[in-house]
Amino acid sequence: MHAPGPESKKRLLRLRLNGRWREDAVLETDLLVDYLREVARLTGTKTGCDGGECGACTVLVDGEAVPSCITLAVRCGGRSVETIESLATQGRLSRLQRAFHEKLGAQCGFCTPGMIMAAEALLRRNPAPAEDEIRAALSGNLCRCTGYVKIIESVQAAMGAAHDR
């Protein structure tokens, strides 16, 4: 292995990731998705395109859905980042996770984490969205398996449903 060059300019990133504060050394150029996957080892967040086109990498930053593949990790300093791994708590699926599972909103599952996080952001700000609001909120998330029919049904099933007990 070669030694890192003297030009290495890492800075300390302090953020709240899935509810827990942590600190890591990152480059200013590191993307949030790479930080999540390679540093924090949270591989639920996916990369499906070459930047900002497919939505598979969607995570929540301060509650807002953002594509982590075009977000710099250092921009998340002091902020709260949530990934798909945060939704199931104490062995319980979230309402969206349960609905996507039971209604077959996920087939191959690759777009699913991003899709669920985008839907999560929607339901937090609008607990009972109309169908066109669901479509608008998920319009940046591509799926190649479902034709979206069962994705819409999944979000609708999750609406208003309490967390799994």
């Binding site: 996916k46 990369t47 499906g48 191959c108 599952g109 690759f110 777009c111 984490p113 591509l142 799926c143």
Partner: protein, 778 residues
């Protein structure tokens, strides 16, 4: 809409979520790029910057010398070709001597990190003497064209000429004969997971382990052994979770072999994750297809003859090409009763990424032309499109002229369902301006009755293990790529044994553990692997029943297992729980391993004519669909308002999954019909991103109402046939027919993008003006 559309048994069939679904929704499912690669090197590929040329210099010495570079491989490191058919393997993992498309792999690097690997790529010196390149079938077929492959004159990979019935007699008997041309753009699978491969070579044991996105692990295993000159027993191919396939990963892909070559050269572990652009360049999807179709029809709508010419621009290497061009002709058959059929097919080499298999393999563009022309002729004869389809139905069981078996046939019921559901009779001819209805039918095979890599072995093998824990583990080589095949397998085993689904575990696609399987292609898994699983489960059940009978002091034929309880007769007197019977059986047997197999008999394997095996299957699925569109004549934008689709899948083992497959396939057909196409500028892909390759988003995606028709196929597992591909091919023609219904324009090209629709509208206006002017002048 759909659950009640299934005529269920009692009690109602369960709609079963995927057995691996929870892992997907919680983000724990590990796809190739998610696997532990902390100690892996990073792989990168140098690709040809030109479309066609001879490599004059390939000097990797400076790259090799860069600190942090561990391995460099080029065409010199592998002198074996790979491919699909043994007779048509003409592709090297890394180009040797000549490059034939822009983006073809030329060299590869394994380095300690991505930055180093990319810097090393820039240090490779590559000089290529360019040759004339061909980007269309016509250009490649020109008399003086340079040959891409010396043994293929005219750049024709394969010509097919099939004729069944008396074609002249057929056309002579017609009241109406029409001939038209169609052009279908090349499209891509665009599965959301980019290609990736993780290869580990253990130099001490001499073993190679590859985890990769393959739909057909065993075939990759064989190709790795071939290309790396390794003993197959020293290789292991494991399928992690796979983010969609649709045919993209049916054939062995160059980067998979390249990653393995790097791992061996580095004596370690290499992760290769392709960019989206590289994933597009790897291609292997549906070719650009030019079609000339001539049909004869009598006044009642009965078809009398069909003459089809198909030219497919296959790209630079053989891949699946021969199979695709054969499918395009053979699957003219098997859906309607046509007295005479002539087919001429041409698969052409061109300097573009190789095409391959994609959902609806070979059948889609042919079906498109056919269903469009049938509709246009029906209009001329003033016949309803449904009437014309009904006039040409097959009677099952039967054998087609090209010797395909038809064992169950639910097309008539599919037609009835969608005609009723869409209120076709009430609405057709009464649609408001700009709105239209169109319909079409389609079909597909439930697996190739003669496998592409024919060995004479059974078509599918499933092993069941029953052990001390009372769990039944199904071992299968079949790759679940998101279509839910492992769930299907678990249901088939649980239903046969009448045990709870939770008791069944499926381990899939690891060549060191699971029995060989021909893989996830041609919709074979439900039919073939499902049947093998049921065979194994029946044998296991017989063994357990025999044990229970001894304990119950009854005759085995009087003992059954109902809901995990073995009982005699109605079970009121003596009954044994499953766990007790398992414990008793283990005393005799030890851990129980049972094998089930399935074989398609020779009579199902197609005709004796050359290429006659392609298209042969034990069970065809059938679909009919109605598409409602809204066409904006000021912008040319076509909007799909709703789709009604009915699919005869024999028996829906899991109605939830069947609906998902029908919706997904119809929607994929919609993408091809409306907006998807690959485009190249001098061989440079202009579509190689998710923005430029325009698949429909959730905003463009209509409600798709599914209806499941169950014909209970005599050979299908629990009566089932395929459900994942059959409905795709009907969408493009149903859409084009709906556009014709809406604005009176018959489009010749796919996709029906706004520019194409506007061109047709403008042309019509011009012609109208010209006619008006001529009339005024005279």
């Amino acid at each position: 809409m759909t659950a009640d559309a299934v005529i269920g048994r009692k009690p109602p069939r369960r709609r079963v979520p995927l057995i691996d679904g929870i892992e997907k929704v919680i983000g724990r499912a590990r796809y190739t790029a998610d696997l532990d690669h902390a100690d892996a090197l990073v792989g990168r590929i140098l690709r040809s910057p030109v479309s066609h040329g001879d490599i004059l210099t390939l000097d990797v010495s400076r790259a090799r010398a860069l600190e942090g570079v561990v391995a460099v491989v080029t065409g010199d490191d592998c002198d074996h070709t790979f491919g699909v058919l043994p007779i048509a393997m003409n592709e090297y993992p890394l180009a040797r001597g000549r490059v034939r498309y822009r983006g073809e792999p030329v060299a590869a690097i394994a380095a300690v990190d991505a930055e180093t690997a990319e810097r090393a790529l820039g240090l490779i010196e590559l000089k290529i003497r360019e040759l004339q390149a061909y980007y269309t079938s016509d250009a490649a077929r020109a008399e003086d064209a340079v040959l891409l492959h010396d043994n293929k004159p005219g750049n024709v990979e394969r010509e097919v000429h099939h004729q069944f019935g008396d074609i002249d007699l057929g056309f002579a008997a017609a009241d109406l004969v029409r001939e038209e041309t169609f052009c279908c753009a090349e499209v891509n699978h665009a599965q959301i997971e980019p290609h990736a491969s993780l290869a580990e070579f253990d130099p001490l044991a001499g073993r190679l382990t590859v985890q990769t996105v393959s739909q057909v692990g065993y075939y990759l295993h064989l190709m790795l052994a071939r290309c790396l000159d390794m003993e197959p027993s020293q290789i292991r191919v494991i399928k992690p979770f796979i983010g969609g396939g649709f045919g993209a990963r049916v054939e062995t892909l160059n980067f998979e072999i390249v990653t393995a070559l790097l791992a061996r050269a580095a004596a370690g572990k290499v992760l290769m994750v392709l960019s989206r652009e590289e994933t597009f360049i790897t291609h292997r999807a549906r070719p650009h297809t030019d079609i000339r179709l001539k049909l004869g029809m009598n006044k009642k709508g009965r078809l009398t003859a069909c003459e089809l010419q198909v030219v497919q621009r296959g790209g630079a290497y053989a891949g699946y090409g021969i199979i695709t061009i054969l499918y395009a002709g053979s699957l003219l058959h098997g859906i309607y009763d046509i007295p005479a059929v002539k087919y001429d097919g041409y698969r052409i080499y061109a300097n573009l990424p190789p095409c391959g298999a994609m959902r609806g393999h070979g059948s889609v563009d042919t079906r498109h032309a056919f269903e469009c022309l049938v509709d246009r002729m029906a209009r001329e004869l003033e016949l309803d499109p449904f009437v014309v389809r009904r006039a040409n139905l097959l009677a099952s069981p039967t054998r087609t002229m090209n010797d395909l078996m038809i064992n169950s046939y639910g097309l008539a019921e599919c037609l009835d369902r969608v005609e009723l559901a869409s209120k076709w009779k009430e609405r057709i001819g009464r649609m408001p301006p700009g709105k239209g209805l169109g319909m079409a039918c389609s079909h597909y095979v439930s697996g190739a009755a003669k496998p592409i890599h024919f060995t004479g072995e059974p078509h599918a093998v499933v092993n069941l293990k029953l052990d001390f824990d009372g769990g039944v583990t199904a071992l299968t080589g079949a790759a679940d790529i998101g279509q839910g095949s492992s769930t299907m397998l678990a249901i088939a085993v649980a239903e046969t044994l009448d045990i709870s689904l939770e008791r069944v575990r499926v381990i899939s696609a690891d060549t060191a553990i699971t029995p060989k399987d021909n893989g996830a292609y041609s919709s074979r898994i439900t039919f073939m692997v499902g049947n093998a699983a049921i065979d194994a489960a029946r044998k296991l059940k017989a063994l357990l029943v025999a044990t229970a009978a001894r304990k119950l002091e009854a005759r085995p034929e009087d003992v059954d297992c109902v809901n995990e309880t073995f009982c005699v007769g109605s079970g009121n007197q003596s009954a044994l729980p499953f766990a007790d019977v398992v414990a008793a059986a283990l005393i005799d047997e030890g851990a129980i391993s049972i094998k089930g197999t399935f074989t398609c008999p020779p009579e199902s394997q197609g005709g004796k004519h050359r290429g006659g095996a392609v298209g042969a299957t034990m069970g065809f699925s059938y679909a009919a669909q109605v598409v409602e569109v809204d066409v904006d004549e000021t912008t040319g934008q076509v909007k799909v308002e709703k789709v009604w689709v009915a699919l005869d899948c024999g028996h829906a083992i899991n109605p939830l999954a069947v609906e998902g497959q029908i919706q997904g396939s119809v929607w994929m057909g919609m993408g091809q019909a409306l907006s998807e196409e690959t485009r190249y500028l001098d061989g440079l892909p202009a579509h190689a991103s998710m923005l430029e390759y325009r698949m429909p988003t959730i905003m463009d995606s209509p409600p798709i109402e599914t209806h499941i028709v169950e014909t209970h196929d005599p050979y299908g597992p629990l009566g089932a046939k395929e459900a994942s591909e059959g409905a795709l091919a009907g969408f493009p023609p149903a859409l084009i027919n709906a556009v014709a219904n809406a604005i009176g324009i018959d489009l010749k090209e796919l996709p029906a993008t706004p520019d194409r629709v506007m061109d047709a509208l403008i042309q019509r206006r011009r012609q109208a003006r010209l006619a008006h002017t001529l009339k005024a002048a005279s």
